[in-house]
């Protein structure tokens, strides 16, 4: 008579039959996708004509606007992606606060440089909006794919925070390109896409990132 396998044996057999990426492999894939995302974002900037010219906005101001925003984006990334020795990272409430503060900080920062130089022209901001969304889509999608179904706590908060972080980095490049700081333009072209990314990240994160029961093994 064949002995009945124990729950332990069944699980270990299932683990052996169900390969999952190791830490090294996960890191390699993440770095590859990050490099691809940066390449695509820089490619979009290049296709749109590169950094704003001196005639449109003083070059020093362009680098100041982008540099300070880059520091904010780096700090936000540190908050969202570093895990401080815990598998689950920061509490969902903190991630959510960071996600919803990002568009407000962006609005305040770009508003603070308004009037410090003559605006070269007026635009609604549809191109800035499209560029931001285009640049942020790949890193956000990559994150959702890489961490699909493995977040046990606040997947929607993590999704929102990652959406905000991708939007912040995309804005860094868009700020290099766009010489406008008019409030109406900033709201449509720069802040709105970050809000869209936060909401999209939250909805998709809730659907994709959260832990879900796995299907029973095929018999």
């Amino acid at each position: 008579m064949t002995p009945v396998p124990s729950a332990r044996d069944l699980l270990l057999a299932r683990v052996a039959a169900h390969p999952s990426p190791t830490r090294q492999r996960g890191r390699l894939v993440a770095l590859g996708l990050l490099a691809l995302s940066v390449g695509v974002a820089v490619g979009i900037l290049w296709l749109m004509g590169g950094p704003a010219g001196e005639a449109a906005r003083p070059r020093r101001l362009t680098w100041l606007v982008s540099g300070v925003w880059g520091l904010f984006a780096a700090a936000l990334s540190g908050l969202v992606f570093t895990r401080k020795g815990s598998v689950m990272g920061r509490p969902p409430s903190l991630l959510l606060l960071a996600a919803f503060a990002t568009p407000l900080v962006l609005l305040a920062w770009l508003h603070s440089v308004q009037g410090s130089y003559p605006e070269p022209y007026a635009r609604v901001g549809w191109r800035c909006l499209s560029m931001t969304l285009g640049m942020a889509a790949l890193p956000l999608g990559s994150f959702l794919l890489l961490r699909r179904g493995i977040e046990p706590r606040g997947p929607w908060a993590l999704g929102a925070a990652v959406g905000a972080t991708c939007g912040a980095w995309a804005n860094l490049l868009v700020d290099v390109w766009c010489p406008l700081s008019d409030t109406a333009h900033v709201l449509v072209g720069h802040v709105l896409p970050v809000v869209v990314l936060v909401l999209a990240g939250s909805l998709l994160g809730r659907r994709l990132l959260g832990v879900r029961p796995l299907p029973p093994p095929a018999r």
């Binding site: 729950a7 332990r8 069944l10 699980l11 270990l12 299932r14 683990v15 052996a16 169900h18 999952s20 990426p21 190791t22 830490r23 090294q24 492999r25 996960g26 890191r27 895990r83 020795g85 815990s86 598998v87 689950m88 509490p91 969902p92 409430s93 961490r147 179904g149 493995i150 046990p152 706590r153 606040g154 959260g210 832990v211 879900r212 029961p213 796995l214």
Partner: protein, 202 residues
């Protein structure tokens, strides 16, 4: 002494999960052996039947295997495992995969676990049963956040910090919730004692 052995147990578990995250398939057996009994207790205390408990323990450990790439070197495995367990449990109820059973008998692994010894006189057994039933009922009446904090800290044996990591909140909030739950239960049990002592008096 218990604290030192618990710390050694946690370090060994973390090291085993580290090896598994690095690709050592055999190390997962150690993770299973260390966590399965605690996870069984976790699900059992939440009113699941034996098959539901086994299914969720398997699911929790399988999820940990699937998510091994996200394991941070040297991190504490217990809060992560319990957070996955909690998510699967909550999700299962929402989807109606299993129904809640009444806690198995008053002397099961209940809120106070006031199990008298086998040689205890019948009146002591009855009193302990009554106390445990009351504690369980009182626990059921508590707000979910307080109940969960109490259960994680008092029944599942997690530290306040670990419970805070499972619930995604601060250690202070967990302490507060557990203390409020404790006060509510103490008040309820105190009422029982005072009413029974009044009943005893001539």
């Amino acid at each position: 002494m218990a604290r030192a052995s618990d710390s050694a147990w946690r370090t060994a578990l973390s090291a085993a999960m580290d090896r598994h995250a690095d690709g050592d398939a055999a190390a997962f057996a150690e993770v299973y052996d260390a966590l399965a009994p605690r996870l069984k207790g976790y699900f059992g205390r939440r009113g699941l039947d034996a098959s539901g408990v086994d299914d969720l323990v398997q699911q929790t450990l399988l999820q940990m295997h699937c998510a091994r790439q996200s394991f941070v070197r040297g991190a504490d495995v217990v809060p992560w495992a319990f957070a996955i367990a909690r998510r699967l449990h909550v999700d299962g109820y929402r989807r109606g995969h299993f129904e809640r059973l009444e806690p198995a008998g008053a002397l099961g692994e209940s809120a106070l676990d006031a199990r008298p010894s086998a040689e205890a006189p019948p009146d002591e057994v009855a009193s302990a049963q009554e106390l445990a039933q009351l504690a369980e009922a009182e626990l059921g009446r508590l707000p979910p956040l307080q109940r969960e904090a109490w259960r994680l800290v008092r029944e599942d044996g997690l530290s306040v910090e670990q419970a805070a990591a499972v619930l995604g909140t601060t250690a202070t909030a967990v302490k507060l919730r557990a203390h409020r739950a404790y006060s509510a239960m103490r008040a309820a049990l105190g009422l029982l004692r005072s009413s029974s002592s009044k009943g005893d008096s001539p």
